[in-house]
């Protein structure tokens, strides 16, 4: 005969309510862990998928995701010259926030080196990768743009030709893939007036210099298109992605590029570590702290409920002791109830999570090792929560029956 379950059946309402409460708390604890896993996955997904062995970025920066990096596009050609490099492609990454159909639209704009990189590596769920040098984009589903949607960014209209799933930046914003030149025209889009003002100020600067005054042609050039001025290079890109030839020695390639004073080179793993050690690490600590607090709260709630359930039973416990029950009978009665609340709460949390987590705005990944870890934690807090009740119960004197 199991006293614990008999008592629970008798106090079903209170027990069920406690289990639901604990279950909801555990669901949040579970979700927090899942959000952290999701953060890591989302932060490293692009680096993982883009298929670059090395990232060449602006010297001494930790770009292009952790901070801004600017390198000249011709770096691409320099990298191609390094022995062992199969391909080098420029890469542009920046986040924009525009208004689209009355709602804010945040896109992490990724520029792919057309025609070398057409986004064939993208995990497409619909449509195709880029097929033209201009005015096409592959959008992540989280951006809410359907296939065939036309979006005006800067002066041009881009058509969504493909959709990816789960491709988001470390901030949770969906990625949009364009050709590098489109990405740059989105980034450096300036109103006509701004361009005219810029040209005028260039002219004014040239006039202020003796070389401008004695060279009328130079003066005229400086007020013209920026591409006509050799001192102004083409727009910078964020990084150059390197793919190695099969059998190439990665250390040798990296050492060669690293010897150039103007750039810094990161391997794929280093790039992932940069992402994780920065922003994601703070989020991890934040989530970890919340998890710890929720676990403590769950323990306190469970302890209080177990304690009051025990208080209600003091007379019965005294009777059991009077008829000679060992302490172990009483302890297991209370411990089993705590474990049952914990186990049912855990099950409930998992079950509710399967409905709730897919509806979260950011990826929540529930992984087996995390589930096992949480199960161990729940076991621990159930035991801890029963201690208060057990402490009370073992001190009950059998002659309490008479009062």
């Amino acid at each position: 005969m199991n006293l614990a379950t008999k008592d629970i059946r008798h106090n079903f309402g209170r027990f069920a309510l406690t289990t639901v409460g604990v279950g909801l708390l555990l669901m949040i604890v579970m979700g927090m862990g899942g959000i952290y896993r999701g953060l890591i996955r989302e932060a490293t997904l692009l680096v993982e998928r883009i298929g670059a062995d090395f990232w060449v970025v602006q010297g001494s920066t930790r770009g292009p995701f952790a901070e801004i990096s600017r390198v000249p596009p011709i770096l691409e050609d320099r990298v191609r010259g390094v022995p062992g490099v199969a391909s080098a492609r420029r890469f542009v990454s920046h986040t924009i926030q525009r208004e689209f159909r009355g709602r804010p639209l945040r896109i992490v704009v990724q520029g792919l080196a057309w025609p070398d990189d057409q986004g064939a590596w993208l995990p497409l769920v619909a449509g195709r990768s880029l097929g033209r040098a201009h005015f096409e984009m592959v959008a992540d589903r989280s951006l809410g743009l359907p296939l065939g949607e036309r979006v005006k960014l800067g002066k041009d209209v881009y058509e969504v030709v493909g959709l990816t799933s789960g491709m988001v930046g470390s901030g949770g914003d969906g990625l949009g893939f364009f050709t590098v030149s489109d990405a740059q025209s989105i980034q450096f889009d300036l109103p006509g007036d701004a361009i005219r003002l810029d040209r005028q100020s260039r002219r004014a600067r040239a006039e202020a210099m003796d070389v401008g005054r004695v060279q009328p042609l130079l003066l005229e050039r400086s007020a013209g298109m920026s591409s006509g001025i050799p001192a102004l290079g083409p727009p910078m890109v964020s990084a150059v992605l390197v793919t190695l030839e099969p059998g190439a020695e990665p250390h040798a390639v990296a050492a060669t590029i690293a010897s150039w004073p103007d750039v810094t080179v990161y391997s794929k793993q280093q790039q992932k570590d940069l992402l994780l050690s920065g922003m994601v690490d703070k989020a991890r600590r934040q989530l970890g702290l919340f998890r710890a607090l929720l676990i403590i709260i769950s323990t306190i709630i469970m302890a209080l409920i177990i304690y009051t359930l025990t208080l209600d039973k003091v007379h019965d416990i005294a009777m059991l002791k009077l008829i000679g029950a060992r302490n172990s009978v009483i302890v297991s009665l209370i411990l089993q109830q705590a474990l049952l609340i914990g186990a049912l709460g855990y099950g409930l949390a998992y079950w509710l999570g399967t409905f709730a987590f897919p509806r979260f705005p950011r990826l929540v990944m529930i992984e087996a090792p995390d589930l096992v870890q949480l199960a161990a934690i729940v076991l621990g807090i159930s035991v801890l929560a029963s201690l208060l009740g057990i402490w009370k119960a073992v001190r009950v004197e059998p002659n309490k029956v008479l009062s």
Binding site: M1, L3, H10, I323, G324, A325, V329, E397
Partner: protein, 246 residues
Amino acid sequence: MTQTSAQSTAALEALNLTKVYGSGNTEVIAMNDVTLRVSRGEIVALLGPSGAGKSTLLTALGLINPPNSGRIVIGGTPVMDGPRALVDLPAFRRRHLGFVFQKANLIPFLNATENVQVALEINDVPPRAAKRRAMELLDYLGVADRADNLPDALSGGQQQRVAVARALANHPSLILADEPTAALDSHRGRQVMELFRKVAHERAAAVLVVTHDHRSLDVFDRTCEMEDGRLRGTLEASTATAQTLA
């Protein structure tokens, strides 16, 4: 401690028990040098006015209220020496003692059968055998038809009979009952007393019953009376009845 005196064949021997509650000017001597022997197969009534110390004596003998001094020997085994336990008390209680109180004190979340069964399982009787024996006992006490009811659904008398069944479950050698019939009507009360007598005689158990019910005194082999913590003489049951009637 292992010496066996001539009287150790008695089911119960209480020697010079004293119990003092409180201290200073709130001090109450609830039990004052009480010596009592009950033989196997004997049913004894314990009478006395309120506050005389009857419950104190009964709980001391029941090993749940240690005396300040004196010795208790049950079934030849010395169990208490003053406040000091000489045996594992819970184990001793579950094997040798049965309790019945004024209130049935049934466990509210267990049905009638389970309330009896729990006493057996605590004493390591396997669940199935425990259940069978519990049903037999309920049948014996005439509450078999309410076996599946929770205590809430039983009348006071039915509850008390379940409590008696629980007390009898492990074939105790000493049954202690504190006003077991106070909550029952006289007919039911008498039935319970006669049941105790039957148990005492048929199973050679010693039964000590605190009672205020003078109409049932003929059931007992012997009556003792307590007053102000002292046990005053031992009367034959018939004498006690005569005194009450006089």
